[in-house]
Amino acid sequence: MGGILVFAELQAGTFTKGSLGLLEAARDAGASLGLTVDAAVCGAIDDGAAAGLGAHGAVTVHVSEGHAFDHAQPVVDAVADLQAREGYRYVLFGASIVGSDAAAGLAVRLDAGLVIDAVELHDEGGSLVTRRSGLGDSVLAHCAFTSAVGVVVVRSNTYAPAEDAAGSPAAVRRSTPALSAHALALRVTGHEAAEQGGVDIGEADVLVGGGRGLGKPEAFALCEALAGALGGAVAATRAVVDAGWYPYASQVGQTGKTVTPKLYIAVGISGAIQHKVGMQGSGTIVAINKDANAPIFDFADLGVVGDLHAIVPKLTELIRARG
């Protein structure tokens, strides 16, 4: 009773790495707080795979079934049900599309506090206090809950699971929650898997990232030429992928890929936090942006305030000339 519940998210049938890492972080925080950790799984999964979450710290794995759980609101119904039965004190989610949205709905449902974008979990005097990053990561706010239940969304890529995770299998319990009417008023009608093939941006030593500052899809040729000269590949922001300028497979960030090239050159990218979480592990970051206030300059090693159309072709020429 009164422990920590972690939402273990299934994507395309497997647990996300982020939720396994989060389970382990919750186990560590729970050990200090004197709280055990359970996992909530929504959707079809066999007993073996569910019990395997024991290796990452789960004592009991609650599997909610009987629905597709393919969007956030059914997850709210399922997790609220578990909280009501088991009296969890804290419920933790990773910052995925479903995870963040479900966390917000759950906090409202339970009249619980909600901390978004948490980057650290601490035991302070027997309570969970999270650190949330703010103002372009220039400050960490220590957030405590004033409610009986606390809901946390942990920033993407904060916790990675151990390679050699070991532990006894978790107990598995299954239930079929009732869904609220509004959860049923929405239907997922189709899914377009990300097209694979082409260059794997995760493998490239050099990435030239293009954003909406390019102005039009054709301008990606500038990034391709620069990447070509450097022997690298081209990455993109969600803004240009959503707009259909560049393929989904090249997207870096919270909903895209996480990359750690030796060099990342951001061209016409504002540097929103959801892009940053996917590329901040790069060795060297260079940014070209005409807006001196763009957040990207807060985490670039070299920031150039200027017009990409003037700078990028010239840089490409200079690099080519070195042969």
Partner: protein, 261 residues
């Protein structure tokens, strides 16, 4: 059809952002403006009014200090028909949960078929308000919508998730938030800017929407910032203005960093 667009007032991006060490809140006394992500939400509502939902009425809804009239005018110039502004001193210090309570109380006064949010606030980068408000109103919700089409009493939408793109169908009344790539917001015309002030403005107090002081603000919040600290920084960084030699300087930097031979 009745559409509400929720817009947030945020610190102007050019103004230096600061947290008050005593209250541990973002200082909002400087220059403020309309959250840039919300321009896409207004634009999408305007496109519905011009297309699949002729005659739709667009209300711009915000919870912000009384001084937010410039932000209201900007949102109306962008295409809103009227504004509904909850302004009350008791709101200051509201966290996500408290703000969602205030916003839902304002929205519940009217029967909106569609409530549209921006993808995120440029100040908080928090992006979950749509889900929180939808839960309070017991409405279906789709966030981060990249394309939408109105089809009778349902909305067909497309959005990005971690595994690709999905299409969804949601019956109205519903709540959505839109990606900043869903459209290119138009620049308001001079008559639209001039006309904004003459559109109906409704300014409400907490009592008007049936809330007590304890429901919002610090008392209505469920989180408390107990301290502030500095995160680790990335190390030295150089920022320069292009004077015509930026390409040479970037190359020199790359050579010095040994990422270019």
């Amino acid at each position: 059809m009745k559409i509400a667009v929720c817009v947030k007032e945020v610190p102007d991006p050019t103004a230096e952002k600061r947290i008050d060490p005593d209250t541990k809140r973002l200082v909002r006394s400087g220059e403020n403006t309309l959250n840039r992500y919300d321009r896409h939400a207004i634009e999408e509502a305007v496109r519905l009014r011009e297309g699949a939902a002729p005659g739709a009425e667009i209300a711009v809804v915000l919870v912000a200090p009384a001084s937010a009239s410039r932000t209201v005018d900007k949102a109306l110039a962008q295409g809103g028909d009227r504004s509904v502004h909850l302004a009350d001193d008791g709101l200051s210090g509201s966290d996500i949960v408290a703000t969602s309570r205030a916003l839902a109380a304002v929205l519940a006064r009217d029967s909106y078929d569609l409530i549209v949010f921006g993808q995120q606030g440029s100040d908080a980068e928090c992006y979950v308000m749509a889900s929180a408000v939808a839960e309070r109103l017991a409405r279906p919700c789709v966030t981060q919508v990249a394309a939408l089409a109105l089809d009778g009493s349902s909305l067909k939408v497309k959005r990005q998730v971690e595994t690709g793109y999905e299409t969804l169908e949601v019956s109205l009344p519903a709540v959505i938030s839109v990606s900043d790539a869903i459209n290119e917001p138009r620049y308001p015309s001079l008559p639209a800017i001039m006309g904004a002030k003459r559109k109906p403005h409704e300014v409400l107090s907490l009592a008007d929407v049936g809330l007590a002081a304890g429901d919002v603000g610090v008392d209505g919040s469920r989180t408390h910032v107990s301290a502030l600290s500095k995160p680790p920084t990335r190390g030295d960084s150089v920022k320069l203005e292009d004077d015509g030699t930026a390409a040479e300087k970037i190359l020199a930097f790359l050579v010095e960093r040994k990422v270019v031979a």
